[in-house]
């Protein structure tokens, strides 16, 4: 017995290790692609070089100290300064080399920096406190996105699970058919509904603010502050909700319909298990793994923010930051944002494997099939 226990422990450890390695490998590939894409395969170098040349020549030509130099001398000085600046920025070395010097290319160094969460400094963007450290910039924006999208996702998730359960019980009813025909409404993105909601509730009716996180100037008392934040959250939450709820209800309804025609559900009904309990023990309980997966992925997606929706509502979160970073080729910020999400996703997927084994006795970690 003890021997068997030890064996399964070894198997578990080996599985855990292999799984971690596989996830990490996928993560490295993903983040490397992000680095290459964010730098446009090295094209960003050219843009930066041009920017450096332009700004240095501007400063030399406008600097009164160099007024007496000839054009020839100024050219020489500029070339020297540009070379110095490019070296300082590391732009004298190639972005990527697909030969045995790959490990010395900047792309590889960026990769190592990203994996060790050493994001360095932003190129242009800075935090409200004035720092250019990517970590500080991200940390400043993170709470806004997490607050808005965690609430939005939780509301969508639990509403749709509840409504879907009710609908799956009333298959073919008017409400059920209505939910099926409304599902395509979710093809429009949240910002589309956002624009409409702003037009109605902010522009026409003047009931709610156009955007932002809190009114300006921010209210002094904590209560008034919270109230103002909630007022600012109503429209983005509603836009997110309207865009997400229909497809979510539809897919969960279909999911529950399939699982509520299992033989054991009918058996439980024959036994006289009351409706609530039937749903809890015979429909939700056996389908927990996919439900938990969906919830977990939804929750971490809040850590990405939503690029366009945040911009529409001027929400000061990660999505807006993403937008700014992409527009200004601020690759350290782009890579930093992507890296955090990549790690979160990797860890979530890794942990979910163990959660499945906890909630479903048929699943054994390590694939030791039971039947």
């Amino acid at each position: 017995m003890a021997r068997k226990g030890l064996q399964s422990l070894i198997r578990l450890a080996r599985y855990t290790f292999m799984r971690a390695v596989a996830i990490f490998f996928a993560l490295v590939v993903g983040i490397f692609l992000t680095i290459v894409i964010a730098n446009m395969g090295g094209y960003v170098d050219k843009i930066k070089k041009a920017q450096v040349e332009e700004s240095i020549s501007m400063s030399v030509f406008t600097n009164p100290a160099y007024k007496n130099l000839t054009t020839e001398e100024k050219r020489e000085l500029i070339d020297k300064l540009v070379a110095l600046e490019l070296e300082r920025l590391g732009l004298d070395k190639p972005f990527i080399r697909l030969d045995r010097n790959f490990l010395r290319s900047r792309a590889f160094r960026y990769l190592i920096d990203a994996l060790t969460l050493n994001f360095g400094f932003a190129e242009h963007i800075h935090s409200t406190s004035g720092s250019k450290r990517v970590w500080i910039i991200i940390k400043e924006r993170l709470p806004y996105s997490v607050l808005l999208f965690t609430s939005a996702n939780l509301i969508v998730f639990f509403t749709s699970i509840y409504v879907a359960l009710v609908l799956s019980r009333r298959y073919g009813s008017i409400w059920d058919r209505l939910s099926v025909s409304l599902a395509p409404l979710s093809t429009a993105p949240p910002w589309f509904y956002g624009v409409i909601l702003i037009l109605i509730f902010a522009a026409s009716l003047r009931l709610l603010p156009f955007g932002g996180f809190v009114s300006i100037p921010p209210p002094k008392s904590p209560f008034a502050y919270a109230l103002s934040v909630i007022l600012h959250m109503i429209l983005p939450l509603s836009a997110w909700f309207i865009s997400g709820i229909f497809a979510s209800v539809y897919s969960w309804r279909t999911f529950f319909l399939i699982y509520s025609s299992e033989d054991y559900v009918e058996m439980a009904r024959a036994k006289g298990v009351p409706g609530r309990e039937l749903e809890r023990r015979y429909i939700l309980r056996p389908t927990l793994p996919p439900i938990i997966t969906s919830l977990a992925l939804m929750l971490i997606s809040a850590w990405m923010g939503a690029i366009i929706t945040e911009s529409v509502f001027k929400w000061p979160g990660l999505g807006t930051l993403y937008m700014e970073a992409i527009n200004s080729f601020d690759t350290p910020v782009i890579v930093g944002l992507t890296m955090i999400y990549a790690y979160l996703l990797g860890i979530t997927v890794f942990v979910l494997d163990f959660v499945y084994a906890l909630v479903d006795p048929r699943i054994k970690v390590g694939g030791g099939s039971a039947t």
């Binding site: 439980a268 024959a270 006289g272 309980r285």
Partner: protein
């Protein structure tokens, strides 16, 4: 003797894209206490639908559900769903489903599932209920430590026995068994049939056994009902039925069952069972019947034959 179960003109129709399926079409019968009735018929003749109609396990596409059902003196059709759940389900009738292999929730321990009816209907405490489950497991022949196992850890035969234990745990009067052994090997089948026979005596149960396995069912049956195309075509004592079936369909059906120590040519019925969407007018078996005559174009009456047998055929009118 007062009938335990009385069914009058029961109808259960389903809505499908092709039309309305008349799965159970005007079924009437009575069943006395402590008897075992076997219902035989081809696949798709409405046997299982009849069971579901009695249990009010209606699928989502139910079109018509009418008739009268009296269980132990209670007018079941007049009860609301909630009343039916409280008064009938597992109180009066329990059920062993056709696919008993999948009749257990895969993520809940067997013991806790078998105990569930006691918690719901008898308001027992969990420990007390589990003691009763262990007792019932001993009766049906399930090792008592299986209480703590999950369904996937049990063999098919053991799962089947656990489901039977679940049907017995609240001592209901009537147990409806829908092909309880069809997915099992022959040895396990015989084992379970013997267990069912023993349990029937011990608990003074009434059985409705639905099967297409005529040979195995003869072990248990006291009454026999033959269904064809959603209707009863023959009803009577099992002894009479197995020796001398009267309806042409029953005769053909029995002729298709191999017997030992008898040199007989196995027979079959030509043609296909009729579609239940637009069943033929008149006698539904007429197109396949070897004894049909002019009267068969008309709906045959339910004829009372001697020994209390009933046959739906013009031949006996």
């Amino acid at each position: 003797m007062e009938a335990l179960l009385k069914v009058e003109d029961l109808k259960l129709y389903f809505r499908t894209t092709k039309g309305v399926v008349q799965a159970v079409d005007g079924v009437s019968f009575e069943l006395a206490s402590h008897t075992a009735m076997v219902i035989v018929g081809e696949s798709g003749c409405g046997k299982s639908s009849l069971a579901k109609a009695i249990l009010r396990l209606l699928p989502r596409n139910t079109h018509t559900y009418t008739g009268k059902i009296y269980i132990d003196g209670i007018d079941a059709m007049s009860l609301s769903d909630e009343q039916f759940r409280r008064q009938i389900r597992w109180q009066k009738i329990s059920y062993v489903a056709q696919a008993a292999m999948n009749a257990l929730n895969p993520v809940i321990k067997v013991g806790s599932q078998v105990a569930e009816p006691l918690l719901i209907h008898r308001r027992m405490r969990k420990e007390e209920a589990l003691r009763k489950v262990v007792e019932t497991f001993q009766i049906v022949g399930v090792p008592t430590d299986f209480v703590d196992r999950y369904p996937f850890e049990l063999s098919g035969g053991m799962r089947q026995r656990a489901v039977i234990a679940m049907a017995l745990v609240t001592n209901p009067k009537l147990v409806i068994l829908d092909e309880p052994t069809s997915a099992l090997d022959v040895l396990t089948q015989a084992n379970i049939m013997n267990a069912l026979k023993r349990i029937k005596e011990e608990f003074e149960l009434t059985y409705i056994l639905i099967t297409h396995d005529i040979a195995t069912s003869s072990e248990l049956a006291e009454r026999a009902m033959v269904m064809y195309a959603g209707q009863i075509v023959e009803l009577g004592n099992a002894g009479h039925f197995y020796l001398e079936p009267l309806h042409p369909y029953s005769q053909k059906l029995m002729a298709s069952v191999p017997t030992l120590r008898e040199d007989k040519e196995l027979d079959f019925i030509p043609g296909q069972p009729p579609s239940l969407i637009n069943p033929p007018a008149g006698c539904r078996f007429a197109p396949r019947c070897h004894k049909r005559f002019s009267a068969c174009d008309r709906e045959p009456p339910m004829v009372d034959y001697k020994d209390g047998r009933k046959i739906k055929c013009h031949l006996y009118a």
